[in-house]
């Protein structure tokens, strides 16, 4: 079974709901090791994305059209580092999904492109306590699931689970990139807010496909 444009729209709406629901949690996580604006910024961004989706006269023809709308809107409205980071991720993902439907390999390509965008923009590697620590295992898990013959929905489910595990694994890490790196050793013991929001967004993708 493939994923279509309706899935992409549903993914985005579910992401907006999840970010709104976890706004306070993301704010609190960011307050502990950053500047405390992640939940607020991301919620503002996804609220704007949903408003743009609502304003569309007809649904876009390709999955990439939906993701590009997400990308440009997040860049313009988020305000913090998450804007260019998620913006670039969705922009790269959009370029990889200029098709009306995605099979399992298409899902893998989407996630790999998104990860590449984040790495290019943020210049972070795994182990630096950033969203890369959630995106990397997610992308790898989807690729492994694809190799094992999984469906597109199953690959997203594997990616979401791996993102959740990856986010949890940021807790003991000492941040060496991003605002949390100013804290040095004191950043250990806290969940990275960007990894947590990645988990929420990929969960939304899996739920929309289920």
């Amino acid at each position: 079974m493939t994923l279509d444009v309706a899935w992409a729209v549903d993914w985005v709406r579910r992401s907006a709901d999840a970010v709104a629901e976890h706004r306070e949690e993301l704010i609190e996580l960011d307050r502990q090791i950053g500047d405390g604006d992640h939940g607020e910024n991301l919620n503002r961004g996804f609220t704007a994305v949903v408003a743009k989706l609502d304003a569309l006269e007809e649904p876009p023809g390709e999955i990439g059209d939906v993701l590009k709308l997400v990308a440009t809107t997040l860049m313009s409205t988020v305000g913090g580092a998450a804007g260019p980071l998620y913006g670039t991720a969705f922009l790269r993902a959009a370029k990889a999904t200029a098709v009306p439907e995605l099979d399992t390999k298409g899902v893998v390509a989407l996630l790999e492109a998104a990860l590449e965008g984040i790495v290019v923009r943020g210049k972070a590697r795994t182990g630096e306590k950033t969203m890369v620590d959630a995106w990397t295992p997610a992308s790898e898990a989807a690729a492994a699931a694809s190799d094992a013959g999984a469906s597109a929905a199953e690959a997203l489910e594997a990616a979401a689970q791996a993102a959740a595990d990856g986010a949890q694994a940021t807790i003991p890490l000492v941040a060496t990139k991003g605002r949390a790196s100013y804290l040095g050793e004191r950043s250990a013991g806290h969940l990275d807010p960007g990894a947590r929001s990645t988990e929420l967004i990929l969960q939304a993708a899996a739920q929309a496909a289920a």
Partner: protein
């Protein structure tokens, strides 16, 4: 210079805070009135953060009329936003813009003064990025030992007359004025093309400035500098 067209290189100052970006524009503008300086600070609603649209608009304005631009950004997300704007910009625009790896305020001042002298993109970028090493404890290199009179170096000495000495405004005047000459000028060992090096000398009223100049217009440059110092930069 302020009544002419702006210098060929403009600056875009991107900050997480509107007040910081606008303050840096004020500060740099005071010393380089001939340079187009654009602030892109804060979010659309005036909060803390960076606005993609504001940065994009400032870059577009900066490179209009064939200008180039150097972008200075403060915290990480300001840098990321500036990079995103350039990634998505028209290649013709992106090719005329550089993001400086430089301290925000010091880099903006150094870049603005250099741009005011009509310098090209690479030189303005270098001025911004060199500002990063000015405050790291690097001392201004002492003047080379006095060489013989026929070493091609034109020398001079003059005593500072204005009460506050070589502070920001006179330092900027000197750096700007000397940009017009094909000459390499050192004042007490400091590169006189760099307003930051001049300020770092901490020279005050009554201090003697030792001037050493090399280049085709060395004598003219020295005479102009001596005259400006003797006039007290208009402050006496």
């Amino acid at each position: 210079m302020s009544e002419r067209e702006p210098a060929p290189v403009a600056l875009v100052l991107v900050s997480h805070s509107r007040a910081i970006a606008e303050g840096a524009v004020d500060l740099a503008g005071q010393m380089a009135p001939g340079v187009l300086l654009l602030a892109a600070g804060g979010t659309e609603d005036g909060g803390l953060g960076t606005s993609y649209d504001a940065v994009e608009a400032a870059v577009a304005q900066a490179v209009a009329d064939g200008r180039s631009a150097v972008v200075l950004a403060d915290l990480g997300s300001a840098v990321l936003t500036a990079e995103s704007v350039l990634d998505l910009a028209d290649p013709d625009v992106a090719s005329r813009v550089r993001i400086a790896d430089a301290p925000f305020v010091e880099g903006a001042v150094a870049a603005a003064v250099t741009a005011h002298g009509g310098a090209d993109l690479d030189r303005v970028l270098a001025a911004a990025e060199h500002a990063g090493t000015m405050f790291g404890g690097d001392q201004v290199r002492p003047a080379a030992a006095e060489a013989s009179a026929d070493d091609g170096v034109v020398r001079g000495a003059v005593t500072l007359r204005n009460p506050l000495g070589l502070h920001a405004r006179p330092a900027a005047i000197v750096a700007r004025m000397l940009a017009a000459y094909d000459a390499k000028v050192r004042v007490n060992g400091a590169n006189a093309a760099s307003v930051l090096e001049l300020m770092k000398l901490g020279a005050t009223q009554g201090d003697e400035l030792r001037i050493e100049v090399e280049g085709p217009q060395a004598a003219e440059a020295r005479d102009a500098l001596v005259a400006a110092v003797e006039e007290g930069f208009g402050e006496v």
